[in-house]
Structure formats: structure tokens, C-alpha cells
């Protein structure tokens, strides 16, 4: 049967490795390889794992008003982000609900001296984000007379007065090499070694005869890099990193790793009805600037949110799962948003939203596990924090 889903430049590589392909966010992606999710999680925590994250978007924003535009749509500041650095933040609607969470990179200015950025939306939100950006540009950046089709045609981009948005997702690839050994492996592959690449920084490099951008970012709770490469170079870089010892990992391991690390996933912990304040992401919101959703978030911050995100933990291997109801003495207390058996901590854990009165670590809740009531304990997030090296500690 022909799939209607998109395929990354590494699709054939995954199939050849025995990856089990599943639909995710409009793409066919490997959920696991034959060694299994638990082995893949262990590889990332102890060595290095390699993920194809080409399903996530690559959206370039440039022009004289690029910085002003991003400071309108992002909760994090673009103006204070230096060239060479990256920042995690949210794209909110007027009510403060999260359209997407994203990492954006400040690139070198273009040949006209205009600011230029790369923004990475989630796979399933790419069209929604482009649609939203087009709307905001139409309303606020002088392109009112030419409302953009939504989503804009692939590769055509959005042009406002002073802002150009160019979706390069289909022309490129994105690989994530994650784990304590990951940076060393990427250094070994880069012609100039990636010296001095700090966390949440990026640099241009050459790998396997291709020009790439390497960011010291990720979504696993480990140190590591994400490599943006031309689509044609992806298989060679993948093969070189696996030859260096990186273990191919699928979406299943990625989900366990990010859950252990307490990192939210849009569609689970975040959606357009949930705010960064509720999700405990206030540190990624810059209230000193004006952005869409700011007033709603400031109001919520002042008056308290109705729900708050917490960690959840229970002994054993039977896991809390998304949508399980939480209660106290039979009264509703909240809902599980993510959960799994954690191979790293050998316990079951997850995340969920609860009413603030039940958010204190140590609070015991009842969880309806498919008709069976079990006790589950509220914990602080993250569940897992990587052991820090002496050097990282000194640096603070």
C-alpha cells in the first residue's frame, strides 16, 4: 500500500537497518530498530544514539524586520540572542496557548546585512506555524492587502514588508547525535573539529564533504549535537556516525528519553489551550518584551494558573499513560499527559496536569489505570538529570 506520508532523506537507510516505520506528524519514521527501545535508551544514556529528526521543520526567517517579527511571535527574545546562539521558547496565540514550542538559531546576517534566523517547528505543527506566521505578517507587517494562502505552497515562502519566510524542510535533513560520547563523535567527523561549541550554540562546519550547521542542542536530557545537512549528505553523515559507534535510535526511545528528562511534547504536555505558565515553562518567557499572548500569560502569572504540570512516579513497570485520570478521594485532581517505564531509573514515571493544591512533591494521587485504581506520587521535574562533568560544573 502506498503511504501518503512524507519520507525523510534517510527513509531507505532506516528500512535497510530494519527500522519499524510508523506514521508520525505526517511522516513515516522509525519507531525502533531491531535491538529495541530499551537498548536504544541505554545507548543514549551511556554512549551515543543517532536519531533522524528530519521530520521537524527548517524555517528560515530573514529581512530588515525579521527580529521585530520574531519578537512578536516568540515568547523568547530574538533581539538579545547573539549570532551563533540558539534559544528554546514557545509560539503562543492571543490567549497564551502554545501553537508550538521551538528552538531558533540566530544565523549570520544575509548579504544585505539583514538579520537571519533558523526556526525548528515540530513536524506536525509546521504548516500550522507557517499559517500563523503568514497571518501575523499580513496583520502586523504591512502585507494586509495580500493575505497568504494557508499553508503557503511548498518552497514558495511568505513575503511581508521586511520579513521573508522560507521553508527549507524538504531540501534538508536534521540528525541528532545524543549522549555523553556524542559530541566527541561529531568532532571526529567535522573537518574543523567543532572547537569551543558551547551548549545552545551553533557553528558552521564541514562533514562528509558537505556544508552543515551543528548546534549543541537536543531533546534527550543528554549532551549532544543536532546536525543540519543538505538532504543529499544525510546518508553519508548517518553512516559515518554509526561507524563511529552511535546507535540508531527511533521515536520510541526519543519519547522515553524526553519523558525521563521532563521535556514537554506538543500534543501531550502542550497544546493551544495550555500555556507556558501551566507547563512550568515561565523561564522561557521574556515578559520584558511585547509578544502575542503576553497579556494572557502575565495575568495568569499574577493570579495563578488553574493547572500545573508535575512529575508522576510509581514503583514497578506498569506505566502511567496519557489520558489516565488522576483523583484524590474520588474527586478529580488532574490527568496524565505522558508516561512510560523508565529503563534508566527502573521505575514507572510520567508527567501530568493537576490542580495546584495537589502539585506538591510527595502528594499521593489515585490513578485510574484502565479501570484499576493505583496510587501514584507527584514528583519534581525532571525525573532524570545527567551527571555533570567537572568541567561543566566549574563553568556553572
Amino acid at each position: 500500500m502506498d503511504s501518503v506520508n512524507l519520507r525523510t532523506p534517510l527513509y531507505d537507510t532506516h528500512v535497510a537497518l530494519g527500522g519499524r516505520m510508523v506514521p508520525f506528524g505526517g511522516w513515516d519514521m522509525p519507531v525502533q530498530y531491531p535491538s529495541g527501545i530499551i537498548a536504544e535508551v541505554r545507548a543514549v544514556r551511556t554512549g551515543a544514539g543517532l536519531f533522524d529528526v528530519s521530520h521537524m521543520g527548517r524555517v528560515y526567517i530573514s529581512g530588515p524586520s525579521a527580529t521585530a517579527f520574531l519578537d512578536t511571535v516568540l515568547t523568547g527574545s530574538a533581539a538579545t540572542l547573539e549570532v551563533g546562539r540558539a534559544r528554546y521558547c514557545m509560539i503562543c496565540n492571543e490567549r497564551g496557548g502554545v501553537i508550538d514550542d521551538t528552538i531558533f538559531y540566530r544565523l549570520q546576517p544575509d548579504s544585505d546585512g539583514n538579520d537571519r534566523y533558523l526556526l525548528i517547528p515540530n513536524a506536525g505543527n509546521r504548516h500550522r506555524v507557517l499559517d500563523w506566521f503568514g497571518l501575523v505578517i499580513g496583520q502586523r507587517f504591512g502585507d494586509r492587502g495580500h493575505p497568504h494562502p494557508s499553508p503557503p505552497p511548498e518552497g514558495e515562502g511568505i513575503k511581508g514588508l521586511g520579513v521573508t519566510i522560507d521553508d527549507q524542510t524538504m531540501q534538508s535533513s536534521l540528525l541528532a547525535c545524543q549522549g555523553p560520547a556524542a559530541l566527541g563523535m561529531a568532532r571526529g567527523l567535522a573537518e574543523d573539529g567543532l572547537d569551543g561549541l558551547r551548549p545552545f550554540a551553533w557553528t558552521n562546519a564541514r562533514m562528509c564533504s558537505a556544508d552543515v550547521l551543528v548546534g549543541r542542542t537536543g531533546y534527550t536530557g543528554e549532551d549532544g549535537v543536532e546536525i543540519l545537512a543538505p538532504a543529499s549528505a544525510a546518508p553519508a553523515i548517518w553512516t559515518a556516525l554509526t561507524a563511529a559507534g552511535a546507535v540508531p535510535c527511533g521515536l520510541g526511545a526519543r519519547d522515553v528519553l524526553r519523558t525521563e528528562a521532563g521535556l514537554p511534547l506538543h500534543g501531550h504536555e502542550l497544546d493551544e489551550a495550555t500555556t507556558p505558565v501551566e507547563a512550568q515553562l515561565e523561564r522561557f518567557v521574556d515578559f520584558s518584551k511585547d509578544f502575542i499572548g503576553r497579556d494572557a500569560l502575565a495575568e495568569q502569572r499574577a493570579n495563578g494558573a488553574k493547572l500545573t504540570l508535575v512529575g508522576l512516579r510509581m514503583p514497578g513497570r506498569s506505566a502511567p499513560r496519557a489520558t489516565y485520570a488522576l483523583s484524590v478521594l474520588g474527586f478529580p485532581a488532574g490527568q496524565v499527559t505522558s508516561g512510560c517505564y523508565s529503563p534508566t531509573l527502573d521505575t514507572s514515571l510520567g508527567m501530568g496536569y493537576v490542580f495546584p493544591e495537589y502539585s506538591r512533591p510527595g502528594t499521593v494521587l489515585e490513578m485510574d489505570k484502565r479501570g484499576l485504581v493505583e496510587e501514584i506520587t507527584v514528583t519534581a521535574l525532571p525525573h532524570y538529570r545527567r551527571p555533570r562533568t567537572a568541567r561543566a560544573r566549574r563553568r556553572g
Binding site: R20, I38, D255, P343
Partner: protein
Amino acid sequence: MNPNDRSYTREHEWIVIEDADARRALVGITHFAQDQLGDIVYFELPKVGDSVSHLGKMGEVESVKAVSDLYSPVSGEVIEVNAALADRPELTNEDPFGEGWLIRVTMSDASELDTLLSAEEYTAYVAEQH
């Protein structure tokens, strides 16, 4: 790959008769089932003395990714549960037709076996579904 000595459900369980006179049989899940599940981390199984019913839900299996229902191939009474699975549920990944069995039952109606698939039929069924 699917042993000829046993019968199969469309939900990917197997049953093998151990003692026809005593109507005693062993129940498990297939290689295909464990492969689709991936790493198994937990079984919720009936207890000794519980009744199970023909193609009725008898428990659940959790892998890292998902939860799936388990169905009993026959009606009867549970006389033993594979105790090794409590600590090592991965036995079912490693040896689904042997060490990784789930429960031992006394069948109440051996004619229910006639509704199940043979190894050949099950193999064809899996090939057709996937």
C-alpha cells in the same frame, strides 16, 4: 516459525494441549505478537483459580510504547501463572512459544479449539494482515 503442535487466535495468542484427558493446556502469545509489541515490561495476568472465557479478555501486556489486551483462546480455569514473568517479562520476547508462556488452564469445553486457527492458517492470516 509458528509451531504445528498448537492452535492460534486472531488476536495472536496460542494454546497447546499438554494433557488431553485432563483437558490441561498452556497459553501464550506468538512470536509475531511479541515482535510487534517490542520490549515487554509488564504483564497483568489472571490469578490461579480465576475463570477465563473463550476469546474473552484475560489480561494486558505493556511494552515500552503501548498497552494491549490479552485474550484467552478457550474457556476454563487458570491453574498456574508463569511466575518468572513478574521479574522477567522479557522472557516472552526471547522465547514466546516456550519459556515465555503466560498461563496454564483446565479447559471447560475442548470443542472451542475447533474455532481456532491452525499454524498454517495463522501464518497465512498474519501475512494477509501485514
